[in-house]
Amino acid sequence: MSTTQSAEAFCNDFLAFYDHSISRIHRQPRAERDQIQLAALQLRFKQLRDAIPMLKKLADGDGIHEINKFDDVVPLLFDHTMYKSYPPSFLHNNQFDKLTRWLDKLTALDLSEFDARDCHSVDDWLSALYDRTPLSLQHTSGSSGVFSFLPKTKAAYEKFMAQYLVSILQVFGKEEKLEKFPLNIHAIYPYFRSGSGHLKLNDLYVKYICGGEERFHTLYPGRLNADVLLLSARIRAETAKGQLDRLQVSPDLLARRSEFIELEQNKEQHLAKFFDEISQKLKGRRIFMQAVPGMLYQMAKAGLERGDRRMFAADSIIIGGGGAKGTVLPDNWDSVVKEYTGADRVNQLYGMSEMLTFNPMCEQGHYHILPGTIPFILDPDTSRPLPRQGTVTGRWAHFDLVPDTWWGGFISGDEVTMTWDTPCACGRRTPYLDKKIQRFSEKRGGDDKITCSATEESFQEAMNFLIGFEQ
């Protein structure tokens, strides 16, 4: 295979490139991995440089026309503010035509024909984009009262699921038969069934993990919609500005007040019903549960308080990812979760909405970076790349090689410690991160983006506000 063909194959399906073998992935020598990743990066650059308007503007401004080494792409990595760089009034005033226009600059897809006239809420807009374009737009809630929007696609999400078979279900070092989708096992999600943002993953879990809606068990059957989350973010922002009394709440949301009041009043009943159902129907079975560690921990704690212990099969798939932002998590949270679930292990992941691949933790407590992502460690202040050797601490940035319609280059707000070339005691040869990861904003005492891990807090705030709202 020529380098170009290899690069194409890698970009198209890097798991297949490694024959869907986690052992092959983690055993590849560095030089080989670097070579294929660079070729893949060059291919993505060629494909996307002029196809994504914002990237083109940035690359033209810096005069960058080729990538010869990894660090050449660093000036083109998008800062995390890029995905919320639209004028906030577009979102607050439901001007989705203008918001679409902005979004169009961040994707290689052509959204110029998209008609947003019938979109009257964020949820309307998200649904319309989903139904009428290849997009499956993801959002994260933000502390300044706006969402970040990531122009992901349905196709990319489908690809995303394939990694579960390789990264989660396979055991490094053992040659095993690849499991097949759907796994036909029950899944538990201790929150809403549907919604936007990361809740969209639930549909994929139903399809690939459960093989049917009846095997998916949630705390609330309904939908957590984007507009509620946005309201919460705006409450924080307006409070910080001393202008909470000027916040306008849409009549639609106000109309849902009674719904929220009911939910709030019946919370205890919902919880009890949820736990009863899963302890009766699922006891002893192999289950799948993925949530942020805080949510897993809360559920495990509540379950143990009820007297439920070691509820499910030891080979259950429990995944905690997305960080513990804003919540105080005890050091032994994973043991508590294991105690409740009975699972042999709790998979911990390093990942983010802006990265399609997640990176599981090894037995040594290190997050090994899968080759679908090119990692960068940047100087936290200057954003210049630090050396790709030894052990370095700095700001995590990456180039995600998987997306083909949006730009995979991204600078995060995380402080990490990366070891590039000293082999990990677990036997994997991929570069790895220390367990300890912090947000720079937390370190400096600030309040940065609220990601999915604070969603429940956000929702609660919004509910409290609406319930207490004086018309």
């Binding site: 890029m82 004028p87 300044s144 600078i411």
Partner: protein, 490 residues
Amino acid sequence: MHKYRSGIVIRGQYIDDNLISFGGRAAGIEFYSPDPRKYLDRLPLGDPAKLSDLYQMSFEDILDYLVELGKRLKFESNPHLQESYETACLTSAVTPPLIKAQYRSVQQIFSRELMREAAEQSIGVAQLEGWKSTPLRDGRILNVRAFGARALHIIAGNSPVVAAMTVMRNAITRSDAIIKSPSNDPFTALAIARTMVDMAPDHPITKHLSVAYWKGGDEQVEKVLYQPHVIEKLVAWGGLASVKHVTKYVQPGLELVTLDPKRSVSIIGPEALSNEETQREVAKRLASDIGAGNQEGCVSARVVYVLSGTDDQGLSKLNEFGRRVYDAMLVLPETVSTKPKTMDQELKRCLGTARLNDEWYNVIGGENDEGAIIVSQIPERVDFASLLANRVANLVPVDNIKEVFAVVDAYTQTVGVYPESLKKDLRDKLPLFGAQRLTSLGYAGVPSLAAPQDAIEPLRRMCKWIVEETCDPSKVPPRWETGMVIVGGD
């Protein structure tokens, strides 16, 4: 690591024993200062009767002292201020030329006539010197005098002028002050106090001042000092972080006076853009309000609403004006504004992203961390407006006057306005939405000592307003006859 040996001043005595190490707010400086815990018994005044020596002096006597002090606070000839300046160059957020200008203005606080004006405007010298007498409707004679109080001042460190103002106000009100120096300027208040000790160690005004440093929140020190039997007023500058650990001590007998940091804005009418000459003039004024002191002060303008209109013509004029403001900012005198010491990296990233969104934001300058003017092309400020600093300001076009009220909020301090007629139109309504001080555009950075500050009158608040009244039963209906509490009404 630069190490500095420092001291404390307690009531006319300079002490530099029992030194312990403190790290300055900026990395790279460590200073040694006497352990305040060893002096907790000496810092308080103790018996309030000891304030009486200040009443042996007249207001003119007080001014005499302060004027003499002012002469000795000439930067070029004061080694204490010079040492303070040296360390400020390491810890301050602004550049040496600006710091030097700040230190030079310390002396200017001690002008006889400016100090007299400050006293006259807020209290009235007569009421400091004696009792103001007024016959009231109910027949009594009301006499009121402004007395001094025992106070502790937690001062701000972003300008040496704050320490100077505190010393001056303390003397004028015949008060006793313990000044807690801030970690980002542990030397200026001390320098002034040392100058007072050098000049007149036994003078009452010198003896009613102490200056020390301790880490804010040090309970061992604070729970001893922040008590009503030690101090009656706690005057606190600085943000929530500095005030948060203080509020728990507030109780009857211990009053908290806060001077909060805030943000400032500007409002500009359409007349400013009408022709080139006016644009230049207004641009110069706005550049000063933005750039003076490198935008580090509460008074510095960050968001600017311009009644340019949001149509193409209006935007075109505003973009032209924005360029003029940027150009004017870059040529401000070195004593007023320089290229900032550092550029906040988060702000820099936001600026870069805004620059790419050129359909909605026109970013002028900012490629070399020299400052920038962001001209919104829509009637909305940038999402990261709360980060604006390092000479980066945001001009926002609006269509009508009703929209300008959105520029102020509970955290707005100064509003620079052009032209004068617009200020007059706004002055009765704007304060309802926020805004504490409206001023002519260009003068945001030079508030007067004689005016209210942060919507309070600090000199008045620092005093105890004592009442002495005479009620003659033949003139004031007595309670034992009328049974009434309020008399003298219609």
